[in-house]
């Protein structure tokens, strides 16, 4: 009895929280008269299916591919660079580790919107703007790397240093121990944090907007911002675009959510 009551309340809370998403989907299916009706209709009167049209007209295939490439690149670099650093910072507890962590976090004070100008000038001098997607990847890695390090460090610190020492006693080198002992144990945590980094980068906007000038290299968020311009009250189109954009993310997410939640909590549970 108590458990079904808890479930009931839980469902209501979750429903309330997810209402904006529901509203996005409903609005994507409404006609323009339906959209501005007051009182609003909670189910569309006539379903207007513009998904194909929006997808093609707004060249979403290209945009989504670019977003995917950029997010993928960011994730790879982040995992390669960040995992070792996170391990070391998790392994030692001293003042220098605190200083390093503090420094890492401090690089995150300014939002992308303010970092973009100096980066733009620097990249322009270095000729990186000729490969604009790479430029966005490099800039975005700096944005998510600290986040990756902090979260991965938390799950890596659950692995006792003794394991590593034991491996080294058995003749493995430090590097060998890292690759053969630590990484397999931390696989889940790294995977999960990697996914989060990927998703964050999939929604990146400011760097892509400023550094990519060719339309066919542009990302999906920038495509969405076309709807936010002055001559747009195309709410239906905007909601349809948003729905197309986030649905794959949501599906991947719902499929993986058990793994993600356990991945982040696993370390702590052991």
């Amino acid at each position: 009895m108590k458990r079904s009551l808890l479930l009931g309340i839980g469902l209501v809370i979750t429903g309330l929280y997810l209402f904006p998403l529901y509203w996005m989907y409903v609005s994507a299916l409404k006609s323009s008269q339906d959209l501005f009706a007051y009182p609003p209709h909670f189910l569309p009167h006539h379903i207007v299916w513009t998904v194909g049209q929006v997808f093609v007209q707004h060249e979403m295939a290209t945009y989504l591919t670019n977003s995917f490439l950029i997010a993928g690149g960011v994730t790879v670099i982040c995992v390669v660079l960040g995992t070792g650093c996170a391990r070391v910072l998790a392994r030692y507890r001293n003042r220098w580790v605190d200083v390093a962590l503090f420094a890492v976090l401090m690089t995150q004070v300014l939002p992308s919107s303010l970092m973009v100008m100096p980066l733009f000038v620097g990249f322009s001098e270095a000729g990186l703007l000729r490969t604009p997607r790479l430029a966005v990847i490099l800039a975005q890695v700096a944005k998510v790397l600290p986040f990756y390090i902090v979260l991965t460090r938390a799950s890596l610190s659950q692995i006792p240093a003794e394991l590593e020492l034991a491996a080294m006693v058995d003749g493995a080198s430090r590097i060998g121990a890292f690759f053969r002992i630590i990484l397999p144990l931390a696989r889940n945590g790294i995977l999960v944090t990697g996914i989060l980094v990927f998703l964050q980068s999939f929604g990146e906007y400011v760097y892509a907007r400023s550094m990519i000038s060719q339309d066919d290299l542009q990302t999906a968020t920038v495509g969405l911002s076309a709807f936010l311009g002055p001559n747009t009250s195309d709410w239906n189109g905007m909601m349809t675009y948003s729905a197309i954009y986030v649905t794959p993310i949501l599906i991947v997410f719902v499929l993986l959510q058990r793994r993600i939640v356990s991945g982040l909590t696993a370390g702590a549970l052991k």
Partner: protein, 408 residues
């Protein structure tokens, strides 16, 4: 100062290169890069195709840039040196780019041109591209503001649909009669949004009151702003007027949620589709009966960047675009910027009215500091409409910042 000299020297060079048609191998294929705010099906895209057909040795690469991003993108491009040959620039910003030496002075080429005759241009659009004796662009068309009204709602409210409001007092009275909170209908829709659009909508009111962007705080100017305050305070216009663009505001008119709307001719195609009622257009009401009518000058100009490698071909494209002036109204919804004969204009009554409004349309600025000036004006409007300040205080503050900017 020396930098300025340097820039102007560069400019002279660029012009000279342009005139001699400089290093251009005869068989070489030329690519012109063009930035525009148009969407794929509009103005620059199809016209560039036509131009290519006439000039097989020239490829025109057209790129769409959002209206609100184009100034930034041009500035950024000028840092990297990756500028287009031709770009769209909004009227009041010509001076900003011109004063930085980023634009090519077209005056020498126009003097030689058989196709462009400046004496035929209307004064408003011409003023926008003039910078001293230099000409920094060719207006591609114009738009301006007028008052749309829902004649059916006029009749229903007992007003004469043949007598739209002609003064501010009449506008207020009609808006009051037409407002119906029970049915979610506002008397008037306009835009006081904190962007260039807000300045565009507000400036004509100041100008009708006798002021301008650099004379903002006379008692008449204050009255203009107080008039807007009254419309919002008494809910004759939606409080969301402060955050809605012109297009969004007019959408509420089209949906029947506002009885009148202030906007431009670009609305006509959508209105023909969405507005299921008898709508008409009238001139903006004047401050008092018989006082001056002023409207705003909108749309922008095609400019050639000073760094363009192909100024001669770029100018040929501008000439070609200019030759399409007689059809800009029917094809793209722009008002022509010079005296041309328009055969069978679409929506002839509305066309005539907007063309009449255009005759008294004034360019915003022009000033190399327009971005700051425009922001000072938007801030004043928003501060007064939200009662963060009285109309008089808000405009006095704006005047101070404008003075500081202009004299800096």
């Amino acid at each position: 100062m020396s930098r300025l000299k340097c820039l102007s020297a560069g400019l002279v060079c660029a012009v000279a290169l342009g005139l001699t048609g400089a290093p251009r191998a005869d068989a070489a294929h030329i690519t012109l890069n063009v930035w525009t705010i148009d969407l794929e099906s509009q103005y620059m895209f199809p016209l560039a195709k036509q131009f290519e057909a006439l000039h097989p040795d020239i490829t025109v690469h057209v790129k769409h840039v959002q209206f609100q991003d184009i100034n930034n993108d041009l500035a950024r491009a000028s840092i990297t040196g990756d500028v287009p040959d031709i770009s769209y620039i909004d009227n009041p910003y010509i001076d900003l780019f011109g004063s930085r030496g980023l634009l090519l002075d077209l005056a020498p080429m126009i003097a030689q041109s058989k196709m462009i005759d400046l004496s035929k241009f209307y004064p408003g659009p011409l003023a926008a591209v003039k910078y001293g004796d230099k000409i920094y662009g060719i207006p591609r068309g114009a738009n301006t503001l007028a008052l749309y009204y829902n004649a059916d709602k006029f009749k229903a409210a007992g007003l004469d649909p043949n007598k739209p409001p002609r003064t501010w007092a009449e506008l207020y009275a009609d808006a009051k009669t037409l407002t119906d909170p029970a049915k979610h209908v506002y008397g008037l829709a306009f835009s006081a949004v904190a962007s260039e659009e807000g300045t565009f909508q507000f400036l004509p009111w100041i100008q009708m009151a006798g002021g301008d962007y650099n004379r903002l705080n006379t008692p008449n100017d204050v009255e203009a702003l107080q008039f807007w305050q009254k419309l919002i305070d008494e809910k004759l216009a939606s409080p969301d007027t402060l955050v809605r663009s012109q297009y969004d505001s007019t959408a509420t008119f089209n949906a029947g949620d506002a009885a009148m709307a202030i906007s431009g001719p670009w609305e006509l195609p959508r209105m023909a589709k969405d507005a299921k009622f008898d709508y008409r257009v009238a001139l903006l009401p004047t401050m008092t009966a018989g006082s001056a009518h002023v409207s705003a000058l909108g749309e922008g100009d095609n400019v050639i960047l000073a760094k363009s490698q192909h100024p001669k071909e770029a100018f040929e494209l501008l000439e070609f675009l200019n030759s399409k002036m007689p059809s800009v109204w029917n094809d793209w919804g722009f008002l022509p910027v010079e005296q041309v004969t328009v055969d069978h204009p679409n929506w002839p009554a509305d066309y005539a009215l907007f063309l009449q409004a255009l005759q008294t349309a004034r360019v915003r600025g022009p000033s190399p500091h327009w971005a700051d000036i425009s922001q000072a004006i938007q801030t004043a409007v928003q501060a007064a409409l939200t009662h963060q300040a009285t109309a008089a205080q808000a405009l006095a503050t704006a005047q101070q910042s404008v003075d500081a900017t202009v004299n800096q």
